[in-house]
């Protein structure tokens, strides 16, 4: 379980996270939804210790993040994390060199699923293909938790469909996943849990299927209620 307790983050005097608490379970897809603001990405960075927090605590299976945690949790940011002059193959080699949990078979499997070539240079990839390579670099690690920042944003519809397919596949199964999005429409049925974030606070945290069952409301309905007051 990933557990955020009262996390506070300031940029200068501006408080961007004002006491954020939520949990994300293993085996579930948790979706951080926020219409605006920088809060979502900041939360991801904070979980991965890529930015310091000013208060509160973040625990991964009960422990603070440490070097070994990166074999257990990974983050797929909204930007390519490998140098542009590398070929996809070099990027795989780099991952294999540094991570014990790198799963080359899975990487190859995803590569052919996405119809990408090992020899392609990272700098030559389209935006959609960059997102796919990023996804492979994260999901081919045998980690328990995967964080993804806006995996569906700014890419073509077919790439989105392919990525959505990954979400319902064995590549995700049994892992704990946190994704951020500002556009829930496409993925309502893919997620287990929605965490609504606005202006640095969590407005609501709920299981989407329970929400439909008990109150007959879609995620969008809840969003509308919460944001419009």
């Amino acid at each position: 379980m990933i557990e955020l307790k009262n996390v506070i983050k300031k940029f200068g005097r501006k408080e961007v996270l004002k006491g954020v608490s939520f949990t994300a379970e293993k085996g579930e897809i948790t979706c951080l939804i926020g219409i605006n603001g920088v809060g979502k990405t900041t939360i991801m960075n904070a979980i991965m210790a890529l930015t310091p927090i000013n208060g509160g605590s973040i625990l991964i299976d009960g422990e603070k993040i440490h070097k070994g945690s990166y074999e257990k949790i990974t983050f797929i940011p909204d930007a390519m994390t490998m140098p542009p002059n590398m070929r996809i193959n070099d990027a795989f080699q780099f991952m294999a060199d540094f991570y014990d949990c790198w799963n080359q078979e899975r990487a190859n499997e995803m590569l052919s699923f996405f119809k990408l070539q090992k020899e392609d240079r990272i700098s030559n990839l389209s935006k959609g293909n960059t997102a796919k390579v990023n996804l492979i670099l994260g999901l081919a690690l045998d980690v328990d938790y995967v964080l993804m920042d806006e995996p569906f944003s700014g890419i073509d519809i077919f790439s989105r469909e392919q990525i959505a397919e990954v979400f319902t596949s064995h590549l995700i199964e049994d892992r704990g996943v946190i994704i951020t999005t500002h556009e829930i429409n496409d993925i309502e049925h893919l997620i287990d849990k929605a965490v609504l974030l606005d202006d640095g606070i969590i407005l609501k945290e709920f299981n989407t299927e329970e929400m439909r069952e008990e109150e007959g409301k879609s995620v969008i309905d809840v969003l509308r209620e919460v944001y419009r007051g």
Partner: protein, 279 residues
């Protein structure tokens, strides 16, 4: 192989093409310098001896024999050394900043490696030092090669051959004497100071990367503080007890302060990478 060594290998590879370029540029420019100065000299000699009928001895007396010193003072020779030094000084900062800027933010990957983050810092420092020592080794190997070219071009009776040591010793006002201090102890002192400077510069970069604008100020104060600590024995002696210490004692004291400054730089760098760094 440990992740630290893999990182060193990776960082070296990232700069390798430019590095080879620098080496090739240096070698070519310096050899052109040899050819240019040698043929200039030979033209002078030919003109004086064959056209003006000057005797060989007389010519040598008037113009001096051709030696490598005439080459090493030229821009063809000193220029590339200066450029290499400048490039490495720039790369000392760029080796960090390249990971943050540009379309691909490699710093995410680096900070998410399952290894102590100080290894990233040490690997980058090791890379810079290897690049520096690599270049000074290449330069020292180039010297005899370039001397040979000179010997091909100028006949023996017009030459004054110099050993590598003599070439360096003769370059009093040039960059060679900076790169290759004459005594072993001087060599160690200047490169130890260099290594310390790399660590201090790295920690300044990390201060900036952690605190951004505020970090620049903190970095300047930190750098100044490091300089003061390092020169503290000298300053105290100058100000309060002139000529109190023997040079050897002063040296030992500065070795101590130098170690303190270096250790402090690494410790702060470690702390920043662990607790304060931002992507």
């Amino acid at each position: 192989m440990s992740r630290y060594l893999k990182l060193v290998n990776f960082e070296l590879n990232r700069f390798f093409k430019i590095y080879l370029g620098l080496i090739a540029f240096t070698a070519i420019s310096q050899i052109i310098g040899v050819i240019n100065r040698s043929s200039q000299y030979m033209n002078q000699a030919n003109e004086a001896i064959y056209e003006r009928g000057m005797a060989l001895d007389e010519f040598i007396q008037q113009y001096g024999p051709m030696s490598f010193q005439k080459v090493s003072q030229s821009l063809f020779f000193q220029g590339p050394i200066g450029i290499c030094i400048a490039m490495l000084l720039i790369y000392m900062f760029f080796i960090w900043y390249r990971d943050w800027f540009g379309k691909n933010t490699f710093i995410y990957r680096l900070l998410m490696l399952p290894t102590e983050r100080i290894n990233i810092y040490m690997a980058k420092a090791t890379t810079i030092l290897l690049l520096v020592f690599g270049l000074i080794s290449v330069q020292i190997l180039l010297l005899p090669l370039e001397s040979t070219v000179l010997q091909w071009m100028v006949p023996e009776e017009l030459r004054m051959d110099m050993s590598v040591n003599e070439i360096i010793g003769a370059d009093v006002f040039g960059l060679l004497s900076i790169l290759y201090p004459v005594t072993v102890i001087e060599f160690f002192i200047s490169y130890a100071i260099g290594i310390m400077a790399v660590f201090v510069a790295f920690t300044c970069v990390l201060l900036e990367r952690s605190f951004r604008w505020k970090g620049i100020g903190i970095g300047l104060v930190y750098a100044l503080g490091s300089i003061v600590i390092f020169f503290l024995p000298m300053l105290i002696e100058e100000m309060f007890f002139p000529y109190f210490l023997y040079p050897m004692e002063l040296l030992l004291l500065m070795l101590l302060t130098g170690l303190i400054v270096t250790a402090l730089a690494i410790w702060i760098g470690h702390y920043l990478l662990k607790n304060k760094i931002r992507v």
